[in-house]
Amino acid sequence: MEIVLSLAIGILTASGVWLILRPRTFQVIVGLSLLSYAVNFFIYAMGRLQVDAPPIVDSIGAADPARFADPLPQALVLTAIVISFAMTALLLVVLLASRGLTGTDHVDSQEPD
């Protein structure tokens, strides 16, 4: 479980970093999206990995923290997903505007000579 998650975070981050260093705007956006997935996994991992554990404490069972998953990182991830989704949408609009105004999809709005 741990190795799968860390591999996923590592591969997503590596691809994301490579893509945001590329010269085309669409590659940058895909790179940022991949990075945000990696970060979301990372936040999730920071709440410790647990299988088959609910994030909500029930009133019957004794309050034994080992039986429950940490709910806070899940709430944080939810917020982070929403925000990065909105930002990606906004970036897409800026990309289209830039493509429309300059006629190129290069990040510097002009083709290198």
């Binding site: 940022l32 945000s36 800026v94 505007a97 709005s109």
Partner: protein, 541 residues
Amino acid sequence: MGGWTDHLIVAPVLVPLAASAMILLLKERNQKAKRAIGIAATFLLIVISVLLLGNVVAASLEGEPSTRAYLIGNWPSPFGIILVVDWLSALMLVLTSILGFTSLVYALARWDEAGPRFHALFLLQLVGLNGAFLTGDLFNLFVFFEVLLAASYALLLHGSGATRVKAGLHYVSINVATSLLFLIGAALIYGVAGTLDMADLATRIPAIAESDLALFQAGMAVLGIAFLVKAGMWPLGFWLPQTYSAATPPAAALFAILSKVGLYAVLRVFLLLFGTEDSPMPNFGEEWLLYGGMATIAFGTIGVLACRTLSRLAGFSVVISSGTMLAALGSGEGAVLGAVLFYLVSSTLALSAFYLLVELVERQEAGLVAPTGIEPVFDDEYTEAFDAGEEGEVGIVIPATIAILGGGFIFCSLLLAGMPPLSGFIAKFAIIDGLLSLEDRIPVSTWSLIALIIVSGLATLIATTRAGIDLLWTPSDKPQPVLRLAEAVPVGLLLLLCLALMAFAGPVMTYMERTGQSLEHREGYIQSVAGASRAGRADPR
């Protein structure tokens, strides 16, 4: 204190939020109502923030703790969302609301018609700024950062055009990536310390296991990078001058405080968590701030000398001012803190006024009475703003425009360069004085910092003088530009505030020093937040 004044703390976030929601409901063409709501909301913000500041001072005079915490949702700290107002937040709130008001008044002259939904976005930007200054929780700091960034993306693109879209593309990409760094830092801190509430975090740091300390430091460093990108520290701040110069003037004038948000976060988080000597990592990251700040000043100085347009000059002045504050913070706390805060207020006001003036001066140079039209990007875009009513609405023509522009320009240059007798000089003098009285033996780094501060002032003076001669002094046969009252008043107001800073430097400095002390004495903050009382259920308010 009690009753409604307790709830005043949440008002700086709620008032602009409600106002911008109201504006969104109005028809796009109903400019008058939107302007009225916008101006009323920003004016109300000034009143509220001055009241909050007065409460802080009054509480301190009565010997009560001046830090006040507000529990949103009435969950006890550290579980709930918390807003905290103390000396520093109250000061930043007042500064933000003043900049918000003046920039919005300036925008009324013509810029708010350059594109759709200016007023709503402007108010949302204020929501984000005020929230970031008030929050007592790292994750909410992130959320409010995103609110202010999202609004700033749109404000930067306001008015459209190829330059703005190009700058916007870079700005948005860089800030989205930075936000991810912020999240990584916050997640690491949560993973190690188990909390994101800043006051709670400060009490938990001594208990962190030796083996986890490196991980915690890594988290703080990543978080620090996220803040420093916003503050524009070299080499993380190359985006700043070109972005700010591409923005419309009222947006840029408000952006003058955007880079100070990063600085505020550094001040707040790092002083609260690492201020005292008995924490396991005293003065964490201090050298980075010192040397990074010095490199920033040097970069800004070279940039100021090299740039050819006034708006870029203003951008590099922002860089210099960030660098000065970062380096002064890094060289040591205590005596310098009050001076740094004084410099923060003075330079933010001056830069904001400068951004507003730059456009007036450059417009005169270009001989344009109205800014050039905008190109539509999408089919359904609303672009008819400029043709409507541009002729009919003449405004009051102020005589001797050049004299006013020139006077304001000289005033701004002196403020930015830090020449006597204006407040810029007092601030720089206080910083240098504080640096010299830190220790008996002054290290080489402090000497070089002082030299850099003085040289950067000289460079600013040279650059502004050169530009001033070019733009204002040389006789030109172009028609006299029309200066509207709505454009002249905000600039005058900002400069008047700088004058007031100079005239009342004594009391203002006392406030700043008191703020510095409150940042040093972090127990006051921690106790106020941890001991914030919940509103009782028997007491429905």
